[in-house]
Symmetry: C2
Subunit: 135 residues, 2 copies
């Protein structure tokens, strides 16, 4: 660390892969939209660019949320939990769709009578969101 601005990175308890869990919450509806991961670079980019930028574990690269779909998450606030190992981002979800399935939130399955029921609708077909649909 060589700048005062980066001190906040030191207070985070990065895991053995250098990652921290990040929750995105809609600042208006307060819905929990999704959970992803950040490394130091992703968090710094998020702070600097004021939009959610994650680390994709599957693709092993920086993931600028909305880069393909346009469903950018504009950053409002970031909180750190008492253990220092989870971040909570309050965001404005552009397009009202956070999930790659075309739903507003990734938490669209609810436990009912011993199984997961899909309880929220697809707002936009993923074929129309992505050039290469992630089904």
């Amino acid at each position: 660390m060589n700048s005062k601005e980066n001190n906040y990175l030191q207070d985070i308890k990065w895991d053995e892969q250098g990652l921290v869990t990040a929750i995105a919450q809609d600042i208006s509806s307060k819905s929990v939209l999704m959970v992803a991961w950040m490394n130091r670079e992703a968090l710094e980019l998020t702070v600097n660019e004021q939009r959610a930028i994650y680390w994709s574990r599957s693709r092993q690269k920086i993931w600028r949320k909305g880069e393909e779909s346009g469903h950018v998450q504009k950053l409002h606030n970031i909180y750190l939990d008492c253990d220092g190992d989870v971040l909570l981002l309050e965001v404005e979800q552009i397009g009202g769709i956070a999930c790659h399935t075309g739903r507003k939130s990734c938490f669209f399955r609810e436990l009912k009578d011993g199984h997961w029921d899909t309880v929220t609708p697809v707002l936009k077909d993923p074929d129309q969101i992505y050039k290469n649909p992630k089904k």
Copy 2:
């Protein structure tokens, strides 16, 4: 798996330690209260007893949230995300305090000008909550 009731456990992507991330959200205020972990037993207990029961990674045992503090989380709904690796619990937070520091939420530090500012007050001194305060 030997009962229909346990089918929902199979849809979860348990990590290599047999755990899944669990977010607790207040069903009234919609505040994100805390993040913890569950193993299969913890989730089954949660569903059966209709209160949040986690797996404590530090103590390596079942953690009945509120067992010492009285700050039980009454379960209302459970959601699973699209990847199947994060649970979202909507709960009623008894006592209005989820954090071991005596605050309503564990996310009480906000990033401001490059450092984490404590932005929510202690509602009850941990010395008064716990017999053996966890500072």
